[in-house]
């Protein structure tokens, strides 16, 4: 699969009746998608969001707005999404179950849709103990699977969980996370199937530093035909140094970095570890692209956002298709999706 040669030239007709965002169009047109994570500001200035977004926008198809990831408080994901759609960017609205109950979450989903958000990534969320305010109360009223299904019910049946009708349902493209790199390994592909059954249309995985493990996972995914039911984007990112890698794999929940990768960083000459980390990331991207059933990558470069553009360019993934050609993000609210009666 290459950026320039989509497998289907024009299949807009195959799109669902709801309006689709840029990410969905890229994926449905068979192109290899690129999403990137925006580092949310600790600031009340919208310009900080735009400064972070502008370096990502030309090299990716959608920008993920994280929801206090690692349980560290930053500007809220719904507000970042509202700022991004206002400027014509395509955000992925990350929603975690850690901080809000079902009432707050459904309200935020509607609000995000009203702001022109298409893509929603439904997450469980890192536990409060992972962050810098471990005294906080954890909510987890819904889990990520229930959240996915709730968002799907709002979209397809046009109701809240209470059964109360929505006058205009949100036209979401629904996403879920997967982590193929932590136990129970055999069950991870089955668990992915469960999330797809609950409504996931695209998947963004945790950081991949272990290609053999990813290949085993994808083999099982293909055996179940799941890659044909949802678009799978593999998480990647550069490691700043051997020390940073050590920190990530011991302190950040769910990140698995094999010894070989850490050793390779340690082996790099002094002052060259950052470049080596970038090289490892590009090599992983190139190998991930060769794995059947992988529909794209999701780049997470915590505090190294200036590297994202270089990584994507040097991986041969530019130019990006459908680049901010139309401000479709602002159209969604005027075009309701037909209600499906069941």
């Amino acid at each position: 699969m290459s950026v320039d040669a989509p497998s289907q030239s024009d299949n807009h007709n195959e799109l669902p009746t709801r309006t689709s965002g840029r990410l969905e169009r890229v994926l449905r047109s068979g192109r290899f998608a690129v999403t990137a994570e925006l580092n949310p500001p600790d600031s009340a200035d919208p310009q900080d969001v735009y400064d972070a977004a502008v370096v990502l926008s030309s090299v990716c198809d959608a920008i993920n707005a994280t929801d206090a990831s690692g349980a560290n408080c930053h500007m809220s994901s719904v507000a970042i999404c509202a700022l991004l759609t206002r400027a014509g960017y395509e955000p992925v609205f990350q929603v975690s179950c850690r901080d809000r109950n079902r009432i707050a979450i459904q309200g935020d989903l509607l609000g995000a849709a009203a702001m022109g958000v298409h893509n929603v990534l439904c997450l469980t969320g890192d536990d409060v103990t992972a962050g810098d305010q471990p005294q906080a109360k954890r909510v987890f009223d819904l889990d990520s699977t229930q959240l996915l299904h709730t968002a799907r019910i709002m979209r397809d049946s046009g109701v809240f969980l209470s059964g109360r009708k929505l006058t205009v349902p949100p036209p979401f493209f629904l996403g879920a996370a997967a982590n193929p790199f932590v136990p129970p390994f055999d069950w991870r592909p089955v668990h992915l199937g469960k999330k797809i059954a609950a409504g996931a249309e695209f998947i963004q995985t945790q950081y991949c530093f272990d290609l053999p493990r990813l290949r085993t996972f994808m083999q099982s995914v293909r055996d179940q035909g799941l890659h044909e039911q949802a678009f799978i984007l593999v998480g990647v990112g550069p490691l700043r140094s051997a020390g940073a890698a050590e920190f990530m794999r011991t302190k950040v929940p769910g990140v698995w970095i094999p010894d070989e990768v850490v050793d390779r960083l340690k082996g790099a000459p002094k002052g060259k570890q950052r470049a080596e980390g970038k090289r490892i990331c590009i090599e992983i991207i190139q190998q991930v692209r060769e794995i059947a059933g992988v529909a794209g990558i999701h780049v997470m470069a915590y505090r190294q956002e200036e590297l994202v553009a270089e990584i994507i360019e040097e991986s041969g993934l530019l130019p990006r298709p459908f680049r901010a050609d139309v401000p479709h993000a602002t159209r969604a609210r005027h075009i309701p999706r037909p209600h499906h009666t069941r």
Binding site: D126, H149, S157, L161
Partner: protein, 159 residues
């Protein structure tokens, strides 16, 4: 003791199956006496036994047999549909490093559970928080534990 039971999940599911049959057999009598009255009597013993065997968190809508006889409310995130992405490489919990992930246990146990093991893939609806600290057995008999939010559509109906 929990360790013994968790290494024999088939015994647990068999015990559950028998207890469920017994509960339904006694249901007409329970109904006659009154669910609330019976609940007052059995709530204490139920808490003690389930607390001892499963580390029960008294959510009042027990799905143990569908989750590998491993209580999903024992998960610090209360996940009822599978593990989060934070499971440690040794299969332990992200939040409580000394505890095995309840979903790692659930998955392993379900493989040894011929009766209910397959139910692990079923999608569990959101919890009714009002049922917390009520008797799950009585809730099963009255059917309130099966009631989902009015807008919730069972997965079979979606396709």
């Amino acid at each position: 003791m929990q360790g013994y039971f968790h290494s024999h999940p088939h015994l647990l599911e068999k015990a559950y199956q028998l207890a469920e049959r017994a509960a339904w057999a006694l249901n007409p009598m329970v109904k006659k006496i009154g669910y609330a009255r019976v609940e007052r009597v059995i709530k204490g013993p139920e808490d003690v036994v389930k607390g001892w065997v499963f580390g029960c968190h008294r959510c009042g809508q027990c799905v143990l047999h569908s989750t590998g006889m491993s209580c999903p409310m024992g998960c610090p995130k209360n996940l009822r549909n599978g593990p989060c992405g934070g499971v440690r490489p040794n299969g332990h919990c992200e939040v409580k490093p000394e505890m095995r992930c309840v979903w790692v246990v659930a998955y392993e146990s379900s493989l040894q559970m011929p009766i209910y093991g397959h139910e692990l893939i079923e999608i569990q609806p959101p919890v009714d928080r009002r049922l917390e600290d009520t008797s799950a057995w009585i809730n099963m008999l009255t059917g309130v534990d099966k009631q989902t939010p009015p807008g919730w559509i069972p997965l079979e109906a979606v396709k």
